[in-house]
Point group: C3
Chain length 160, copies 3
């Protein structure tokens, strides 16, 4: 492989890792601008029984609803495995999730599973998520886990 190709591969991998992190930080900090920036216009977000959303406007609409229902979220990502096809401008990744969501109505759930992603590189050279599918492993209520028991946690305001 030549130098240019090897650098492209290394940079593409980092760009894709960043998309995965931006999804987590975008959701957890209710950063709509950051969350919006990671998707192709026609992206699909399929969250299993949490819902399936087609297109970036549907995804952002879903995020706004989640932020109302669960103003307190943590998506800790781990163990990313990425496959790249630079010629095709496509990539896939499988990444594990360890997640806590505190719902206004039902309290805190511990959620685990795996994201299976497809990425495309657009004409400008930016990698974007074309499709993200969540495989649920567990959704476990944690009635005794309450962030407000200790330090007064400050749930973010939806849309802030």
């Amino acid at each position: 492989m030549d130098t240019e190709y090897r650098l492209d591969l290394l940079e593409a991998r980092n760009d894709i890792l960043d998309l995965i992190s931006r999804y987590g930080q975008g959701f957890d900090h209710q950063d709509a601008e950051l969350l919006r920036s990671i998707w192709r216009e026609d992206a699909v977000l399929d969250l299993d029984f949490f819902g399936r959303f087609d297109g970036i406007e549907a995804i952002m609409g879903a995020a706004a609803q989640y932020w109302q229902a669960s103003p307190f979220m943590h998506h800790w990502m781990a163990n990313p495995l990425i496959s790249l096809d630079l010629e095709a401008g496509t990539a896939t990744a499988a990444t594990e999730l360890d997640c806590l969501c505190t719902y206004v109505e039902d309290g805190t759930s511990h959620i685990g599973g795996r994201y299976l992603d497809s990425f495309v590189r657009d004409e400008g050279g930016s990698w974007l998520i074309a499709r993200r599918v969540f495989e649920i492993a567990f959704v476990t209520p944690m009635p005794d886990w309450n962030p407000a028991q200790g330090v007064e946690a400050e749930p973010l305001k939806a849309g802030a």
Copy 2:
């Protein structure tokens, strides 16, 4: 350092991060092919009081037993620190673990600790795990944590 050497270092680091992720995903998804692919033939897996296994067949045999005893596992890896010696074709890593295992007989345990790894590069240029030692920090029963309380989690079938 010349370009070739710097690229080799960057790629080797990524290869090693992938081995660490493949261990996690191989175990957690009972993917025997993926799990098998990361070890040198004579690799040692030393899991402290969970057992020590010499050679790839012993490791795979142990995995099959774990999958029967604990059909529900999550190995979330974090904080990897990697040291490389390209000339020698060797490397080491220390990586933290946050883990949940739900045992058929004893319920769920939260397990934490650190993996200390040694890697070698084979003649084909592939990095493999030569030795993985787990330092246990804690193994804590979580009697109130039950994935089946909420959404019906689907434990994987051993060997599937």
Copy 3:
């Protein structure tokens, strides 16, 4: 961008990821040498209501106190987002934290939040933390989570 510049960027990113991991492993294993090695002399560590520490000696003094108060810590880092300015020799990062601390007096707390970091490159070319600010999301007591319930966990000795 030329090859040299692209390699510099890739290496700087890895160096910064290593600083983030070294903070975690330094704290969790009470490795004073490792923890000391990541800071600029005049670094600031601002841990919100856990305290603010100016300069490397104050930071190391704080670490020694934490190790006495909470001999059992786990800082699992996730979702790093890094911005680099190679010309200026500066960088920033935002990284999520999932943390357990077992305090001698108050038992175990689950702590979550985000680190906001500033880095500088010194004359020797090494990246160091200039400022680390922790944004607390929650500090939640876990009275039923006790590492000593199960396997006898061995809390590290402060300063060992």
